[in-house]
């Protein structure tokens, strides 16, 4: 218990430090004439001196406090928004039965919704488990410490379970209105499904990652073995772990569906108007579930304690080689300037290209989505465009901008600040000019595909809403980003301003887009706020 206790305690301390900042004082033994003297208490006033210096710890402490306050506000907003969304979206009356496509679903609306929420949690956690087991910096830090593997397994299992339960709690909050609308039992059954799903996701996820690792080095198929040789001894490992989260997800979803069906059988049996009691299939089905969960955990434990260091080493090696399939660096660099870029001259053209390439390479996924998203939208709207409610049209447009453009990440992320460009002998006006060209291009790139989609909508009002609202919103973000340049404090305030603008704008139509947009806006702020100051150079500590 000693080492696990230590790991758990320090994990919570890290969390507490993250939320509330460091606390306490330290006793440092002063050295006099090279000899240690009496221990000396260093109080907060010495740890955060006000008399200046290159780095002002007091300033850092203030910034940490501001960020803590911001985090608390955002979490509270998120906690408040979830039940509100549940109230708006759940039906006013509940029943144990829901008939859909001729099939009877015992458990009704709440169990169905809980099932879809559980699937979302499974999707998220299946990938995060892989990260926490092998890639997260905590895994790398602890890999060189003498920690018993049995203890490490339970520590990782506990962490993953806690993580999953926190997300599940958010889902439970969303379903809370079911309770308040008078269907307490329906809510409890949904809760049972969510908790069961959390267990399934963690157990199956652990087993799948271990199975992938073991299969990778013990029973490597010929194809992977060949790939492994060609790619420098890492291809097989990379390939196995590429598939493992998807396999974990597929198995988890199958088991969650199975759990839902079992729960429906139990719900059916406890209905007052049903006679005959529990179906005979329920006990063996429950047995299968227990065996699946316990069996997965047992398998994972066995392989973790036997092979984890080897699996970690293989994964670590695979991670040493990074192939960015989305970028053909050299071909791109040599490509002659085209269109707008060709008309620019001198340093403006160079800076424009620098920003354009940085933006394009930062997220290959976004680049693909610019094409795939509108295409999917086009197909969907052609089929169901007439059935879309006005607020849905607005919400889709805004979500498009929020997710793809992620304005908050842009406001905070210093990656777009060309550090190299700033030290080149280029005037501010030229630098600004290059940026303005890029902004216009970006707005056009992100909103024009949406305009094409909007054309498929039935009315002019809907068409304009879908295109003009995001265009205005994104333009505002870009303008604010320019205003905020060079200031460390302004972006945070501007982030709030933009969030407020989105909320107010979407609220003009109805509560629907408001509820759809605000959680995404909050999530974007949380995702984008993590770099309040420019990052350090190469020597800066990387940590988990």
């Amino acid at each position: 218990m000693g080492q696990i206790g230590t790991l758990i305690r320090w994990r919570f301390r890290r969390f507490a430090n993250r939320v509330g900042g460091p606390r306490g004082t330290v006793r440092v033994r002063s050295l006099r004439n090279g000899q240690p003297g009496q221990p000396e208490e260093i109080g907060p006033e010495r740890l955060h001196p006000q008399d200046g210096g290159a780095i002002k710890p007091s300033k850092i402490a203030n910034r940490d406090s501001q960020l803590t306050a911001l985090r608390i506000i955002l979490v509270l907003c998120g906690v408040a928004v979830l039940p509100v969304a549940g109230f708006a979206l759940s039906p006013d009356s509940f029943g144990p039965v829901r008939v859909r496509a001729g099939l009877i679903h015992w458990g009704g609306w709440s169990l169905e919704t809980a099932f879809y929420l559980a699937c979302l949690v499974a999707t998220l956690q299946s990938y995060r488990l892989l990260e926490s087991l092998f890639r997260h910096r905590e895994a790398r830090i602890l890999a060189v410490y003498p920690i018993r593997l049995g203890g490490l397994f339970f520590y990782r299992l506990g962490s993953a379970l806690l993580d999953t339960l926190v997300i599940t709690a958010g889902c439970a909050l969303f379903l809370l209105p079911v309770w308040f609308k008078g269907a307490a039992m329906d809510y409890l059954w949904s809760l049972v499904l969510l908790l069961l799903s959390a267990l399934i996701v963690v157990a199956v996820g652990f087993a799948a990652q271990m199975a992938a690792g073991v299969a990778d080095y013990r029973h490597l198929p010929d194809f992977f073995r060949q790939l492994d040789r060609q790619s420098g001894g890492t291809g097989g490992a990379a390939a196995a772990y590429l598939f493992s989260p998807a396999i974990a997800l597929a198995c988890s979803l199958a088991l969650i569906l199975f759990s839902k069906l079992v729960l429906e059988e139990i719900i059916k049996a406890v209905q007052p108007d049903q006679v005959g009691g529990m179906s005979g299939i329920v006990p063996p089905a429950l047995g299968i579930l227990v065996v699946a969960i316990v069996g997965s955990l047992g398998w994972a434990y066995r392989n973790f304690t036997r092979h984890y260091p080897l699996l970690f080493a293989r994964f670590f090696e695979a991670d040493l080689i990074v192939l960015d399939t989305g970028v053909d660096y050299f071909a791109r660099d040599r490509r002659p300037a085209r269109g707008w870029e060709a008309r620019l001259t001198g340093p403006v053209r160079s800076l424009y290209r620098l920003d354009r390439l940085q933006l394009a390479r930062r997220s290959p996924l976004a680049k693909i989505m610019v094409v795939l998203g509108p295409l999917a939208g086009l197909i969907t709207f052609l089929g169901w465009g007439r059935q879309l409610l006005p607020w849905m049209v607005i919400a889709i447009g805004l979500l498009w901008v929020l997710v793809l453009a992620n304005p908050w990440a842009r406001l905070f992320d210093p990656a777009l600040e060309p550090g190299m460009g700033l030290v080149l002998p280029i005037s501010d006006s030229q630098r600004r000019k290059a940026r303005e060209y890029l902004v216009v291009r970006e707005i056009a790139l992100l909103t024009l595909p949406l305009c094409l989609c909007a054309l498929t909508l039935p009315t002019w009002q809907a068409r304009l809403s879908m295109w003009v609202v995001p265009l205005l919103a994104l333009s505002l973000v870009e303008v604010l980003t320019r205003i905020a340049e060079g200031s460390h404090r302004a972006p945070r305030l501007l982030g709030f301003l933009v969030a407020a603008f989105f909320a107010a704008l979407s609220g003009l139509w109805s509560v629907g887009p408001f509820l759809a947009v605000v959680p995404i806006a909050l999530a974007s702020i949380l995702a984008g706020r993590s770099h309040p100051e420019p990052r350090g150079g190469e020597g800066k500590a990387v940590a988990g």
Binding site: T6, R29, L47, E138, R140, A143, R229, Q230
Partner: protein, 247 residues
């Protein structure tokens, strides 16, 4: 160099596809040795370190720490090793002092002893005033010093330092050098890689030169002194001679 060494690396090989990064390296380090492990970029130093601590698995060969096989007795073997890698890995949301306390607890160092060591090291490396600050607010040099402290606080029998002096100020370099000398006198073995050859020239007890994954020269202090007083005027010229020989 007879008998069992504290650290024994036997014929380890590590390949990346067609590239052999480590090609049959063997080393035996005895208690009290301070060994410079030098070589050009890409010679295989970091891969060797990683194979020793188990971050990477060698394709062939064996690593023994105090007679314990790193593959079969990993936990016990790691207990005897302190490793500071090239890339500093620290928990961002712990303070400097908390980081050292956590490491001490994992290694189950007696509390009073741990307090003394933490306080002495923080003061020695001038981290005292930053001890209660989160690691994420440390500069690159401070983070490196703290990483060194995480290894030194355990006073391990085997200390592996991969480019650990890079980016440190002269005061800290002198302080760490003193601390390493103290550990060595207490019987610890230190394997140290650095490109600051002037620092190593008069300090280390042995020099191992690596090129293209192989050891091209392994010299004890007396042999090194002999070469430096005759054919070569400095460790740099000796190093350049051997690395150029291997092309």
């Amino acid at each position: 160099m007879s008998g069992q060494g504290l650290l024994e690396v036997k014929e380890i090989v590590k390949r990346y596809g067609p590239l052999t990064a480590v090609d049959g390296i063997s080393l035996r380090l005895s208690p009290g040795e301070l060994v410079a492990f030098i070589g050009p970029n890409g010679a295989g130093k970091t891969t060797t370190y990683r194979c020793i601590v188990g971050l990477q698995r060698p394709d062939a060969g064996q690593v023994l720490v105090s007679g314990l096989d790193m593959q079969t007795d990993r936990v016990e073997a790691l207990r005897a090793i302190g490793y500071v890698g090239q890339d500093v890995q620290l928990f961002q949301y712990l303070t400097g002092e908390e980081t050292l306390r956590m490491v001490g607890e994992i290694y189950q160092i007696e509390p009073q002893q741990l307090e003394d060591r933490i306080s002495r090291l923080l003061e020695l490396l001038e981290l005292g005033s930053a001890a209660n600050r989160l690691v994420r607010h440390y500069s690159g040099g401070m983070a490196r010093k703290l990483a060194l402290c995480t290894a030194l606080v355990r006073e391990p029998p085997v200390l592996l330092l991969d480019e650990s002096f890079a980016g440190l100020d002269p005061e800290s370099t002198v302080a760490i050098r003193g601390e390493l000398d103290r550990l060595r006198q207490n019987g610890s073995t230190i394997l140290l890689s650095s490109h600051v050859l002037e620092l190593l020239e008069r300090w280390v007890t042995r020099v191992v030169i690596l090129a293209k994954g192989r050891i091209v020269q392994d010299l004890g202090r007396s042999e090194l002194n002999e070469l430096l007083s005759g054919r070569f005027d400095s460790l740099t010229s000796l190093y350049l001679y051997h690395t150029r020989q291997t092309g």
